[in-house]
Subunit: 339 residues, 6 copies
Amino acid sequence: MKYATLGELMLRLSTPGNQVYVQATSFDVNYGGGEANVAVSLANYGCDACFLSKIPTNDIGQSAVNSLRQYGVDTSRILRGGDRLGIYFLQTGASMRASKVIYDRAHSAIAEAKPEEFDFDELLEGVEWLHISGITPALSANAAEVTKLALMKAKEKGITTSFDLNFRSKLWTKEQAQACMVPLMKYVDYAIGNEEDAQNCLGFHLEGDVTSGKLDVEKYEAMLKALCKQYGFKGAATSLRESKSASWNGWAGALVKDGQFYLSKHYEINPIVDRVGGGDSFSAGLIYGLTHYEDPSDAINFAVAASALKQTIPGDYNHVGLKEVEVLMGGDASGRVQR
Amino acid sequence: MKYATLGELMLRLSTPGNQVYVQATSFDVNYGGGEANVAVSLANYGCDACFLSKIPTNDIGQSAVNSLRQYGVDTSRILRGGDRLGIYFLQTGASMRASKVIYDRAHSAIAEAKPEEFDFDELLEGVEWLHISGITPALSANAAEVTKLALMKAKEKGITTSFDLNFRSKLWTKEQAQACMVPLMKYVDYAIGNEEDAQNCLGFHLEGDVTSGKLDVEKYEAMLKALCKQYGFKGAATSLRESKSASWNGWAGALVKDGQFYLSKHYEINPIVDRVGGGDSFSAGLIYGLTHYEDPSDAINFAVAASALKQTIPGDYNHVGLKEVEVLMGGDASGRVQR
Amino acid sequence: MKYATLGELMLRLSTPGNQVYVQATSFDVNYGGGEANVAVSLANYGCDACFLSKIPTNDIGQSAVNSLRQYGVDTSRILRGGDRLGIYFLQTGASMRASKVIYDRAHSAIAEAKPEEFDFDELLEGVEWLHISGITPALSANAAEVTKLALMKAKEKGITTSFDLNFRSKLWTKEQAQACMVPLMKYVDYAIGNEEDAQNCLGFHLEGDVTSGKLDVEKYEAMLKALCKQYGFKGAATSLRESKSASWNGWAGALVKDGQFYLSKHYEINPIVDRVGGGDSFSAGLIYGLTHYEDPSDAINFAVAASALKQTIPGDYNHVGLKEVEVLMGGDASGRVQR
Amino acid sequence: MKYATLGELMLRLSTPGNQVYVQATSFDVNYGGGEANVAVSLANYGCDACFLSKIPTNDIGQSAVNSLRQYGVDTSRILRGGDRLGIYFLQTGASMRASKVIYDRAHSAIAEAKPEEFDFDELLEGVEWLHISGITPALSANAAEVTKLALMKAKEKGITTSFDLNFRSKLWTKEQAQACMVPLMKYVDYAIGNEEDAQNCLGFHLEGDVTSGKLDVEKYEAMLKALCKQYGFKGAATSLRESKSASWNGWAGALVKDGQFYLSKHYEINPIVDRVGGGDSFSAGLIYGLTHYEDPSDAINFAVAASALKQTIPGDYNHVGLKEVEVLMGGDASGRVQR
Amino acid sequence: MKYATLGELMLRLSTPGNQVYVQATSFDVNYGGGEANVAVSLANYGCDACFLSKIPTNDIGQSAVNSLRQYGVDTSRILRGGDRLGIYFLQTGASMRASKVIYDRAHSAIAEAKPEEFDFDELLEGVEWLHISGITPALSANAAEVTKLALMKAKEKGITTSFDLNFRSKLWTKEQAQACMVPLMKYVDYAIGNEEDAQNCLGFHLEGDVTSGKLDVEKYEAMLKALCKQYGFKGAATSLRESKSASWNGWAGALVKDGQFYLSKHYEINPIVDRVGGGDSFSAGLIYGLTHYEDPSDAINFAVAASALKQTIPGDYNHVGLKEVEVLMGGDASGRVQR
Amino acid sequence: MKYATLGELMLRLSTPGNQVYVQATSFDVNYGGGEANVAVSLANYGCDACFLSKIPTNDIGQSAVNSLRQYGVDTSRILRGGDRLGIYFLQTGASMRASKVIYDRAHSAIAEAKPEEFDFDELLEGVEWLHISGITPALSANAAEVTKLALMKAKEKGITTSFDLNFRSKLWTKEQAQACMVPLMKYVDYAIGNEEDAQNCLGFHLEGDVTSGKLDVEKYEAMLKALCKQYGFKGAATSLRESKSASWNGWAGALVKDGQFYLSKHYEINPIVDRVGGGDSFSAGLIYGLTHYEDPSDAINFAVAASALKQTIPGDYNHVGLKEVEVLMGGDASGRVQR
């Protein structure tokens, strides 16, 4: 089974250790981006995963492509060209000090690519699952059009689609997001998003203070069921993050599939090593789970275990393999040395 | 408003990560010292902060001066000369293993500077707030005399003064400290110090086991009020640290101003990244708070939030800005990524 | 008093920080191995500790020997030669992600050394305590024979012996382990091992789920007393680890000596910096304690405090000295900065 | 005497050691840009140097400003705002492998700043020397206008001006360069540029193969004199680089002042540590020399010695001080340890 | 055109900078091996290159595979399994101090693989060029058999073959080498090797002192022509290295093809960054050249330029691309910054 | 044969790579000092070498002692105590930029040690060769007295003595040096020193410009013979350094023994990695050579080859072994990889 994801891959420049920006005399180099992160996760589980994007031909762009190849992602369908690779800077938080992201992604190759450059008939050849996040259409009007073309073609070809709502306030307003994304939902089979995403991207609302560190499971069940009902999704899922501090989060997930609600196991991630990419590893885990387990409960548990493990690894990409996720799903969170 | 601080700036050499001294093949280089740390904090909040000291002309001394300029401190009034910059070594602890400081600060330029080298009429020109800690008079008899001259001149010029008691047993005995410091208190407007400092530097006593990790707020209120009464301070403040381990501390602060007691919010700092300089960032936060907020409660809450954040950043200096402190004061300790 | 330990010293290659293997572009270099770790600990407490092994003459072997000399271990009785130094790779875990060891130790100099190369009359000259772990006989048939010869000669010379059962499933099966180790027990004065070791190496069984993170003290008392009874040990001890996660363990220890049961203080190690070598530092602490304190309760408390501290330091070796262990034994786990 | 320079300050991201881009897992962080480099050099010689530009308010922009403050440059006249700080990537060459720069500087704050944001009456208050390079007008039409306004105002105020032609083919064509720069020459007192710059920026031509590693001094004398004659420059200078390899260059300089030709001493720079910023340190040295030495021969020798030393130091900035330059000017290139 | 190479891929552990082994507290991690290096070079030139080997399934083996994928090598035909990945340690020399390699490659997966595991009908499917070096048959009797099977099948399928003689005295004696390799020569189209290789592997002899740093071109012409004549090679080539020091080598190459002798340009590599893999990059360049240029003179010049550039880059792999090689072939060795 | 050396061991803090002081955010940690360096060299050649000094008991002092133990030096006779370990900072030069040392060694334990603390009867028990440099008496009046006592006792015990004149202008004037050192010469068997040392320490003079990079061998022969004659030395030697740049030196040595003059081979050290400690490795090589070779020509050639190799290794200590020195003595300076 061939999976494809479509989006932006960025150069990530992060301060080493606990340094803040003004102290840094070097930046750690990683590459990442929502949909690329999903593709790497899938490849790490042994899946045939293909990333679709446009990436410059210079050495920075090539290094980004190489990072995908290194982990087994099919990069043969990536368009090459454009002026620059988008960049984001990351200063990782600790305790009550939050992580701080600075985006420098405007004018990137994918943001400035034209819809006609993408021949989705070819690009989606043989693909059975297409995943996109809400970041992609937010990049530019062109990128929004590209997103739409991809989803339409996917439906035409009978490809299953998943969409991670993922609202980014630095890229657009919620009014812009809703105007773009609501019409796309009819091409989507599985939606992923938390309460803020649902509210900002689709106009849904969920009561409660998301900075309080406490969660109300019942509201999520209601939200997910309502989403499925309104948009005809086959399923909808959300990760459930309790933000106790930058170093300690509770972590779980919930899935509604075919009208049934499934709540995952709950983990305490302490310490968090790198929470960036946590949501993407959840999406990847869910996609893997939905296509490899019969029981939707296993799918959501796989997604949550995989994404909990991701947050103990530096970088956007999730480097855990099947076996490690399954050991954690199976209940062993003891962290005993594997010799 | 121009702030000045007077003291020693040292080269700090710390082992990387969790290494202990005997493992180190490199040392991380930082510069720090009680009053210099206060000046950097104030500059980071946008204040006009000036540091007073004597620093060698060699490249190590110049690097120390540069570190202050980098963060916007006015270094134009620093005397240059002397044989060496004081050094301290730091091995950062973890869990039940305490951090370990080795001082190599004897014979430093500031310790050997002569009182007549300091023309405080010029050095304090335009200054409205002067801050010194109890480390400065402890450096040498000369430094004690310099401290006294600075405080006297400040009073003469109508400059507000703050004094962080800060007892250092490696530098002098409590008898020596009291003989020197008690007479200085009449020049002080705001005193800062915990129970040990008050006891060692001024002869005050507070019951209880400071290594127990528990605090008794009422005793602190009594102590601060008694200090104000005895010495005629406009205010007195203390940070309240619960030392649960080298990696996890409770953190709060208390202030008595104009006879009123103010207790701050309480934070759990877990993990602590670097607690050295925590007290200095508290002093700086208090000075900023007292000169920018009407409500003393805001002042102590600013001081505590600022100094909690400091302890999540490596190095002596506190690199957080106004906005970050205010977000934490405002109640968001969730550590959610700022994008 | 001269102590000797006999075993394998390996090159340890670990990923920096929280990186996983596939991310590593450098490995941190340390040297370690069960019995070598014990020798270093003893040397750090000021004891005359001698390490017995066979190590190649190449620069990697020499670096391993140098690492022992650096910390004061007597390396003059190490045989030199053989093809290679054993290697192990380490990826340190975090939170629910376990540490992952990859062994590449087959065909090492010590594994391929022949029994006749070891003249234990000379090698044990002047030695009063000999320590070996169950890893040594597991290395090869030759190494098992060497272990037996050493223990027999020790008994002949009236040397006290301690044996850390330490089962390694990658090296042999429990059937093989029992066939080899049970007959050795008659030469052993002090046995060290947890429930899994006792079960795998000697056929003992203890109920309960060792991955649950909870401990049942009474069972350990029963086990240790039964071990002493069956094999005539002067004493038997075990560390008690509660594996809450890769970053947080409970830690304690228990000792039966002369029929009496002693339970140590209990510590929360959070965060764990490096748990590899934790058991060896427990053994070393116990040996030190048994030979320096009258009260067996002090011996087990020393062992547990020492090994708790070890787990806050990177590398196999325990770099804490007597004073630091005694401060923790004395009850100060506050982690306050030592200035 | 107050010096000002006007231009772009960029984040420089360079691969460590001899790594090429595709190998890098971290980038060394420096800040640099032609005119900023000149300002830092002047500040390091003890001059009052002021940098004029527009720099974003985010932490990356602040770090750039801090880097100037660290070395004593007056940053108080820098405009703050805009979307991004320009970036350039650097892979340092070795032997016959050339260094490779990738620019990602489009849309930077200074490139997008509007002329009306710059009040040069204020910005040049008290300034006696203004330096700009040909990179600044090449950034954008707006930047070209800003350059012109600055030069015109300088002339109006009687400020001496220097202009480093510095053609950058990635930023504009030689036709564009000439259209812009030729009219600016009437405001320029001292021009700096090699044969390629003169050809591309002003339409001058010099025979010979610049990649041959050999220089023809006579042609340079002719060129410099012709430049002075045609544009009425008080002086014109060029560095003379013999590119033998990426690691080894010959280095000298020539100056025509008041009709006289001065040729500097010649150095072999081997190895070159970092040649980026070499030309800027030449300009800074020349400016310093022209304003501090009577003899123009000393000025060009200072410029050449200073810039030779720069190329032995990593980063764009030249960290050598007056004394080191003067020792080299004085003839000691022996590199004997200074104890 | 599909190229395949067959051999061992090792973990390379090198001391950072100029450190010697006994100083190292970390090792730089690279992966390399003669034929793998050739495959990476070819992939970097845009060729379809496939590597054949057996590599363990553990994370160290996976990292080795990933390093090939990162640079675009087809790894889909690699057998997975076996006990360990071979290791080599490298301490890079400087000036008169030679680099020092320690091999720890015995018992590797490829050395212990059985001939019947390799189905060369499948493994060579679609391949048009097969390259092997003399290291592969030297690994073990099994590996020698595998080498023979590969070459025989290649001839059967009409695949062009190249063979880099590459004698390794640590792996076998020259008698063993000759017994194995002479019979293989009948399957070889292009042989690569210097005078020592020809002597040790095939019994050829060339007068002169190879440590003298001087070369005698005429002898090489004679040797290459004689080799072609005796074994019926289509061509034979050698790199010509003048070992002036560990930091400075002369570098050239010579080729005999169809009876004609071609001598390349000559380069001075100074400094050498990393000469390991230099010969492999020569082989790869020659293969590329022979399959892409009409004129054999271009082929040898491409090989020499490519391998000169390699020696300025750390690691076994050659990361230069077509354009950089062609610029150097074209005569520009000036090392001027490419902006 | 037991060798002893007496002197100061310092903490060396050097900037990484080519950084200058003001750029450094970390310092590389090494330990070194003239006589300690000699002891390490001798231990690396397999000799029984003992270091005599006074070193603090703190962790910095312990790390210094550990560094000696690591390389096999006998540290059992080192006095422990005092306030601080001396420090020196090092910024390594390149090309025409000289290395720059900043000393911070005043008030060190050895400088402040009292003569009566040293019982040379015990400290020199079993010693057959004693080596001291002119740095030791320069440290303080006490240290000068200690030096004298050691030399007198050595003569009394029939111990051969060598003395490296080693003038340090930062520690004393040449008048002070001569007043102290001339009277010591009667206890010295072998003197080592270049023309500047002879001039400053003993009042000898040699014509010529030592910064010119050229040497006049005849003058050295005359100087060495005159030294022997005047002071009755058994031998006198000097290294011959041609300082072409900080990166490239010529290197040779000369010895007069029993009236005969021996000139060594000559080497070009290019690049120099770290020339600090070069002279000490020459002394150590000479001592080794004089006690292991019959022919004085071999002794001086060993000294020069050893010290040439030292300058290719970072740190004060010379880590080369016998075999590497002998290969270079034997004429192979080709730097070919040792596999």
